[in-house]
Amino acid sequence: MLSFVAQRIVKGVVVLLAIVVMNFFLIRLAPGDPAVVMAGEAGASDPQFVQQLREKFSLDKPLPEQLLSYVKGIVTLDLGFSFRQQMPVSKLISERIGATLLLTLTAFAISLVLGIFFGTLAARFAGSWGDSAITAAALVFYATPIFWLALMAILLFSVYLGWLPSFGYDTVGANYTGLAYVGDVALHLIMPAMTIGLFFMATYTRMTRASMLEVKRLDFVKTARAKGLRDNVIQRRHVLRNALLPVVTLAGVHAGTLIGGAVITETVYAWPGIGRLMYEALLQRDYNLLLGVFVVCSAMVLIFNLITDLVYRLVDPRIEFAS
């Protein structure tokens, strides 16, 4: 188990380094002088600062040396400086990452729980009108653009019904403390988390349903039935447990999409996470910040993949930890 984790961590670090190297070349793809690009476009940079950057990243040196100093910077967690925001990129990101984790993990939990619930329900009553309704709803949510769903939710729950706040992380100026503050944040969290959650819920519903129907036909289920086990027990212990394996795999694959959904959702709801930060960087053409957020997103996906891999092995004891 330990050696497996160590192996995976090493692999992840290698992938991350490769992404950093790719970033290095991406900056050079942008039109213009890389130093000016890094400083931020549209005349926001002064010549002195550009010269400083040029020296810091040894842009006057040959390419391999430039690459080395760039990688060195990243390894020491120096993601560069955002000239636009007048702050180190790593500081900007670390201030925002908590909000993104809260949002994505809540959305992930909602989608997984509801998806498995509805998928199980649909499979249990396969062919009934309830099954058709769940399947159709899943199909529609699966095809709904997240940014549009977010706007429709605002329209319905904030503008029309007035139930939920339409943007932000907490009520500005309310100065809630303790439980009241937690409640306030939770209220702001509902819509963004549901927006991301519904798309993934649709995926997990479809997957769970298909997988349950598949497992139901297998021999060991017949055996369980022949033994005279109660239907509830068969469904829960035998069918669901085996049917969940592909769902867990899918969840791991989705980590990247989850982050992508966060970029969109945070933008619409002005949720102060790194997705929103990415959008701000985009608007200001702040490439250094943009690439910094991108590296951190990739790292998050790698960590998430590692966790789902471990969970997968816990759920399915047949898979050994040696790779």
Binding site: A143, P145, F147, R206, A210, L282, Y287
Partner: protein
Amino acid sequence: MKAFWKSMLRHPGGVIGLVILFITIFIAIFGPTIFPTSPWRMVQRPFLPPFTNPAVLLGTDALGRDVFAGIIYGARVSLLVGMVSTLVALIVGVPLGATAGYFGGRVDDALMRFTEFFQTIPSFPLAIVLVAILQPSIYSIVASIGIVSWPPVARLVRAEVLSLRTREYVQAAIVTGQSNSWIIWREILPNALSPVIVLASLMVATAILLESSLSFLGLGDPNMISWGYMVGAGRTVIRQAWWITVFPGVAILLAVLAMNLVGEGLNDALNPRLAKGSR
């Protein structure tokens, strides 16, 4: 072929999908000729509500531009980007997967590590970074979506080739001294076609969603109107004018839903073995 259409038409979702898809394709090709109002032109007062003026059926946006015209012209961008970027993904993924599966060993290892690397990178953020750096245009959008979506193609083709390679007719081709590229292109790939077609149709749906998300964030081609751009532009005035965001969103939803339905119908028709299963 007849059997194919028969089983495709037996799938009610597939039929609905095909109908919507054909309508969308028709609009994308002939819409601008039938409906010549430019989506950029001011035709009425700003914020005209929908269904009040038959000439401007879906109302106007903040600049008095016809929302209906935008939807007609936007179909072109969505379908074009969806199909061409899927084609790009196929052009990268099919040869790569085929080479990995056919030659195996170290070639396979190297190519699959490369594929896994691209699969780990979060695709939407990568697409954002690529379009932002290459500057938004229809070319950079197509290229970026293609670049982020080829890995599943490579993996699928590799798996298919791996299983087909051991078949007797392939062995026979090897014995008769056919070249490797002949065997891959003429003997193996035609037999791996149907799962690739299914995947490709579902990828078009994902590509349409990706394009609209990029346009929504302001990374669309500035010279072409698209549904995502329209939703993004209407976002700030959503409290006054819901129709500017609602209608283009419905258009995206329908187009993506249609592609997904067609993909599922194709799956049932082409892979009867997997008909009951998932994707």
